[in-house]
């Protein structure tokens, strides 16, 4: 198969899977106990507004028509109105998404780089004290229960030592007043530190262990012996020949473990009251804000699928042995 052909097949696949999830969610909403009307229309609205919303979502029509309208609404980005905020759900999502992206990408990228770097060193010095210390600490980081670890950090670094704010994303007084941009950015970074540290440490553990075992298996390959026989320096063998190939599975695992990271991310956001999608989903679920919960869920599903698609394509691009 040609390269564009492969990409096209993958794209269609993702679209089909997402469509299945979308459909499943539609039927789950109708299968669950209670009136679907009460799940999509805020009971606190005035009768006129209610009638308007029911009309817009076709809730008075037959099921198959409701379904078509649901798909159409999704494609045009209208998810209804949040019960709690009284605003279009799409506005809220866009507003929260930037905070999740900030936390998620910084922690993942930093942890992946640090994990690849440290895992490389651990594998290179296999069996030494350094390796043992690093592997065992990585194992402990990897098995820590995320909410508990987050609460401990919050308690010690936030409450006892007072180094970091206890929650939120910015200090209100700075944003009401006319503080300079730099001060505001520093303020956000200050708030970012604790949730970032939590996710960084947890992710670091798994990336380090993965890089270590991947590097160990690469070091057994014949081309490493060839490189040695050619008289290349140990540093070149380690960094160029071994580490570059060993890092491949680590990069794919970023995509494959995304489901795990999203669970952890939601818990972390909730504990540090970081106003992202995960916290919003938990909030919506606790307060029966169905339209908001639905939109958060679909967004998360979409992100997971797209990320896996990117990893597939990236892997094919990084590893020349993979043919389409």
């Amino acid at each position: 198969m040609t390269k564009p052909g492969y990409i096209l097949v993958k794209l269609v696949e993702v679209a089909v899977i997402f469509f299945i999830i979308l459909t499943a969610l539609f039927f789950l909403f109708r299968l669950s106990p209670g009136d679907p009307m009460s799940k999509m229309v805020d009971p606190m609205l005035t009768p006129e507004d209610m009638a308007h919303l029911i009309e817009q979502m076709g809730l008075d029509r037959p099921l198959w028509e409701q379904y078509l309208i649901y798909v159409k609404n999704f494609l045009t980005g209208s998810f209804g109105f949040s019960f709690h905020y009284g605003e279009p759900v799409s506005h809220i999502i866009v507003d929260k998404l930037k905070w999740t992206i900030l936390l998620f990408t910084t922690s993942t990228v930093l942890a992946a780089f640090a994990g690849i770097f440290l895992g490389k060193i651990a594998a290179w010095h296999k069996g030494s004290h350094l390796d043992n210390v690093m592997s065992i600490s990585a194992l402990v980081c990897y098995t820590l229960f995320i909410p508990w670890f987050a609460l401990l950090l919050l308690w010690i670094l936030g409450f006892k030592l007072g180094l970091f704010p206890l929650g939120g994303v910015l200090s209100p007084q700075l944003w009401v007043g006319n503080a300079s941009l730099l001060v505001r950015i520093l303020d956000v970074l200050h708030h970012l530190m604790l949730p970032l540290m939590t996710l960084f440490i947890i992710n670091l553990g798994s990336y380090l262990l993965l890089m270590r075992s991947s590097m160990l298996s690469v070091l057994r390959e014949d081309y490493i012996i060839t490189a040695r026989a050619k008289g290349l320096s140990e540093k070149v063998i380690r960094n160029k020949h071994a580490a570059q190939n060993a890092a491949l599975p680590v990069i794919t695992s970023v995509g494959l473990s995304l489901a795990f990271s999203i669970n952890g991310g939601a818990l972390t956001e909730q504990i540090f009251t970081w106003p992202g999608i995960g916290k919003e989903l938990i909030f919506a679920v606790s307060n029966n804000d169905y339209p908001l919960a639905q939109a958060c869920f679909l967004l998360i599903a979409l992100v997971v699928l797209v990320a896996n698609l990117i990893v597939d394509l990236l892997y094919a691009w990084l590893d020349p042995r993979i043919t389409y």
Binding site: I17, I20, I21, L25, L28, F29, S32, P33, K39, L139, V140, Y142, T143, L144, F145, I146, P147, W148, F149, L151, L152, L154, W155, F159, L216, L256, L258, A259, F260, I262, N263, A266, L267, Q270, I271, L281, I282, A284, V285, S286, N288, Y290, A293, Q294, F297, I300, A301, V304, L305, N308
Partner: protein, 297 residues
Amino acid sequence: MLNKYSLQRFYKGWQIFIENPLGKTGVIILVVFMFMAIASFFVPLIGPMYDPMTGIDPDIRVSTGPSLTHWLGTDNVGRDLFAQLLEGAKVAFIVGLSAAFISIVIGTLVGMVAGYTGGLLDAFLMRTADIIMVLPSLVILLILASLFGQFNIWIIVFIIAIMRWPAVSRVIRSQTLSLKHRPFIEASRVAGASHLRIIFRHIMPNVLPLAFLYMTFRVTAAILVEAALSFLGFGDPSQVSWGMMLQWVWKSGHMFQAPYWLIPPGMCISLLTLAFYLLGRAMDEVLDPRLRKEGQA
């Protein structure tokens, strides 16, 4: 079934397993937690005050630190934290083992059928597995909880199992594929064995060890998801668990005042996860001789 040969093989495997420092550590931690789980049956017998859910110390109205009557202290309504911790060990084992077992059963069946039949059914089953595999189970449980209300513990176990079979089925499928064309399978087919008989009589015994290896990893995942769900307040409200204890210390605003309440449950979850992970790694080495060599070199 159990002849001398298989007993010997089991004994040899056990020796490799227990000589492995990872396996040893895992087993020790696990035994401690098993004792805790067993002890949880006896603690309420001491007196109604020590019931993990309903026992209230009449003299205590606020959360107090460790004392002789309450080894780990009490929560803010006067319930004994140590009793809750023991009960949590029991619940963790029940949740982890049963969810893992169900997911292993589903995963093994699907994997064997997909690998043995091949074709369209195989493609369909494996695509389904792919979809389920990438979905975050906690998020799914949250959305289901919002639609269907609070779940009891067995429904949570079942949903976790449904979310967790795909990885098992992939491994079992590839194992089945490699078994499918072995002479003994061909022979039984020629002898007129039905497909079902081949799958259950000849393929299953050969894939089961692998399935049980995967079970140890599933246990960890199930315990973590249940704990996270309870922590967020969507667990079974009639059931004490470690996640629930963390939810209570957090929601009652005691997390900065009561380290004796905050630290033990989370530490137990982390240690039990670690124990099952170590166990899985050690079993990996028993089943895969290549890894063993690497460990010794």
